[in-house]
């Protein structure tokens, strides 16, 4: 009996929230649609991957504020939490469509992107993801584009770079095998390494659940005599690997990819540990150009920390959309399918220079062409390698 009452209370609460929630956002729709394009995005704001979702959110907000201040096309952002999970992301995406989204600037993570992109393709809404780097996200979908590198792009670029610059060295790889990003890069790295004739002596993996202790993998890599340690992983586990390798007295050349960016800005991280780390990254918060300086200053004011490449990719997403909308001559009263038709033919013919690369262009397949630059960390800052 009491259970029944409790359930009913919960039910009432629940539908009450749905009702008032739905109501309030409807009101917002009618007031604003005439004036601004509605941009939607989903990313993790809670859970393990929250850091990436929040970075993207801040990046989008900064760019939208700048664009709106220009006085031309006005944009409006609606950002929903997806916990980096496909199921929740699809629910969030559906809600965004209900609330009148016209352009989809998500998702943040690859796993969620793989679940949402086919639906976006079916709906024919223009989708430009800042950071869902898996090739599955864009494959076979004419309306889905990426601002980040695809994973294969990075994996083969890393192998080529290592071959050219330290081809005679022995290599070990440590990657996270329950993560689409990490495994995607590793797979193409391995394929390219085989063709280049690189000497890979050890491959170790870890999972989300074992991402705290790497002493075994490091001991094995050291025992196998690896001179170069390739880390196609995000910077948080990488920081632990650097600390543990240092404690063991193992000092190979660490080589990372764009996920490694952000390691220098971790609160409390001893940057001496990262001395000599090499990484391929499209964005560096220490760059001296005006664009980066302006962005970093604004980001620090908003979020209280230094932006990583997720935030930079998100910032570029907004400007790419803004430029494309201008070029295609879209107006905010167009439906999302009309906007999509216009944008998908525009984006393949335009080029854009932003935070994460200059003269970026897009193929009809959805992948971006931009060059990753290799940097090396010296005295706590990135230096071109």
């Amino acid at each position: 009996m009491k259970k029944l009452i409790a359930m009913l209370m919960a039910l009432v609460l629940c539908f009450g929230l749905v009702a008032c929630g739905g109501g309030s956002s409807d009101d917002a729709d009618t007031a604003d649609t005439a004036a601004a394009f509605k941009i939607g995005c989903t990313g993790p704001l809670t859970g393990d991957a929250a850091i990436y979702g929040q970075a993207v959110k801040y990046g989008l907000e900064i760019a939208i504020e700048e664009v709106n201040a220009l006085g031309g096309i006005q944009l409006e952002l609606q950002y929903e939490d997806d916990v980096a999970d496909g199921e929740t992301a699809l629910n969030a995406y559906n809600k965004l469509i209900d609330d009148g989204m016209q352009i989809f600037a998500g998702t943040v993570t690859s796993g969620a992107g793989q679940a949402v992109a086919p639906q976006a393709y079916e709906d024919q809404i223009f989708m430009l993801t800042p950071s869902a780097s898996s090739p599955e996200v864009v494959e076979g979908k004419d309306n889905v584009f990426q601002v980040c590198f695809t994973d294969p792009n990075q994996g083969s670029a890393s192998a080529t770079y290592i071959k050219e610059n330290m081809g005679d060295k022995t290599i070990a790889v440590i990657y996270r095998n329950d993560d689409a990003y990490s495994q995607g890069i590793r797979d193409t790295f391995a394929a390219q390494a085989a063709t280049e004739g690189l000497n890979v002596v050890y491959e170790g993996t870890f999972t989300k659940d074992t991402a705290t202790d790497f002493s075994v993998q490091l001991t094995a890599a050291q025992a196998a005599g690896a001179d170069v340690l390739f880390l196609p992983i995000y910077y948080q586990p990488a920081s632990v690997i650097l600390a543990q390798a240092d404690a063991m007295g193992y000092a190979p050349i660490f080589f990372g990819v764009d996920g490694m960016d952000g390691i220098l800005t971790m609160e409390g991280f001893n940057t001496e540990l990262a001395e000599g780390v090499m990484l391929l990254t499209p964005f560096s918060a220490d760059a001296e150009d005006e664009l980066t300086k302006n962005f970093v200053a604004k980001y620090q004011a908003l979020a209280g920390e230094t932006p990583n490449q997720f935030a930079a990719d998100a910032y570029d997403v907004i400007y790419v959309i803004y430029n494309a909308l201008n070029e295609a001559g879209c107006t905010a009263d167009m439906s999302y399918t009309e906007i999509c038709e216009a944008l998908k033919s525009t984006i393949v013919n335009m080029s854009y220079t932003g935070l994460t690369g200059s003269d970026m262009t897009w193929a009809a397949t959805g992948e971006v062409t931009k060059m990753p630059t290799a940097v090396i960390i010296e005295n706590g800052v990135y230096v071109g390698a």
């Binding site: 009996m1 919960a10 929230l17 739905g22 199921e87 629910n91 559906n94």
Partner: protein, 356 residues
């Protein structure tokens, strides 16, 4: 007719009311959907809700009715989801009709998952209480890691399966013909799945689950299972084979969870093995406990409400999961604390009498 209903046993009345409620809900939602009165967000949630309802009812059979705490039921859902997707994708050309293919996939998933349930049940059901719980947790985690190592593709030669246990294999090692398609890509999970799950299929699955579980519970075997839960020693002393009845409940539950997994897996273009982790098991367990142990219709309502709740809480954005946690604690305290019970029974003395 009315007299007939009146003369039924009270449990039978509740059962019929449950079927009736589910059918009415289905009809109402279908009508609303056809009239275009539901939002996309609501329509999108229907299939996952059906699959979670099935999960909750299946888990209730183990936790509520058989009395064994399972913390690893997401593992069975995972097996069902992956086998279901693999079956459906590889039968695309053999069975062109989508509903039939979905049904076949669900049956395959239920069989595989039930078989896994039998294999796991043999060691697990020898244990008691919290030890049993931790072993189910352990199996759940093991299944998650094993599924994460799967690489599967299908071409005109049939299925190609690699178990990538040391992390050195990739899709290229499948050596597929050019007409083939990759179905499961290791950590990237299932890719490019035809989303053939429908709300109608979900409804049928929920009904089938209800028929199986309710008939099992009200049967001779069901009474034996309940007896084992209430007093294992007394049940043994009257000649009930406790292990085999517990096994019956466990395997049935695993098979249903597998079918729910297939429905779930075929509703998304892509899903990863890491989705079916400990938190997923706990999520379903929360449905069962909040709905009431052994109370089937309670599980249905709890699964629905608690699935919608976090989505409904999107309006409070950052506080979403915090509010969810508070609701969880408050509801548990409200339904189980003696102090709150007293207050409630004072406020609602009349209704209480009627119910009794």
């Amino acid at each position: 007719m009315l007299n007939k209903i009146k003369n039924l046993k009270s449990t039978t009345k509740v059962d019929f009311a449950t079927y009736f409620g589910v059918i009415v809900a289905f009809i109402v939602i279908t009508i609303l959907m056809n009239q275009g009165m539901l939002k996309r967000a609501h329509v999108g949630m229907l299939v996952p809700i059906c699959s979670y309802i099935t999960m909750a009812v299946a888990l209730n059979l183990v936790v509520g009715i058989s009395g064994e705490l399972s913390l690893g039921h997401a593992g069975f859902m995972s097996i069902g989801a992956f086998t279901g997707v693999i079956a459906a994708m590889s039968l695309t050309s053999a069975i062109p009709s989508e509903p039939i293919r979905l049904a076949v996939a669900m049956v395959v998933a239920a069989v595989c998952s039930g078989a896994a349930g039998a294999v796991i049940g043999i060691p697990v059901l020898r244990l008691r209480g919290d030890y049993l719980a931790i072993v189910t947790l352990a199996f759940g985690e093991i299944i998650k890691e094993l599924m994460n190592c799967l690489i599967v593709g299908h071409d005109s030669e049939g299925l190609h399966i690699i178990f990538n246990y040391n992390g050195s294999k990739s899709v290229e090692d499948l050596h597929m013909l050019t007409d083939g398609a990759v179905i499961v890509k290791g950590a990237q999970g299932t890719v490019n799945v035809d989303t053939i799950s429908t709300f109608a299929a979900g409804f049928v699955l929920v009904m089938v689950t209800l028929v199986i579980v309710l008939n099992l519970v009200r049967s001779r075997s069901g009474r034996a299972i309940l007896a084992c839960r209430d007093n294992r020693i007394a049940a043994e002393s009257v000649g009930i084979n406790v292990t085999s009845y517990k096994m019956m409940a466990f395997v049935t539950s695993a098979a249903l969870a597998g079918a729910a997994g297939a429905l779930y897996g075929l509703n998304f273009s892509s899903m990863q093995a890491t989705k079916f982790d400990f938190n997923q098991s706990i999520l379903v367990l929360v449905f069962v406990v909040l709905g009431g142990l052994g109370n089937i219709w309670g599980s249905i309502i709890a699964a629905t409400v608690l699935y919608i709740l976090p989505e409904a809480l999107r309006e409070v954005a950052d506080l979403r999961m915090l509010v969810y946690a508070i609701v969880l604690i408050v509801v548990m305290l409200a339904t189980n604390s003696p102090a709150v019970k007293n207050v409630l029974s004072k406020i609602l003395p009349k209704r209480r009498k009627e119910m009794d």
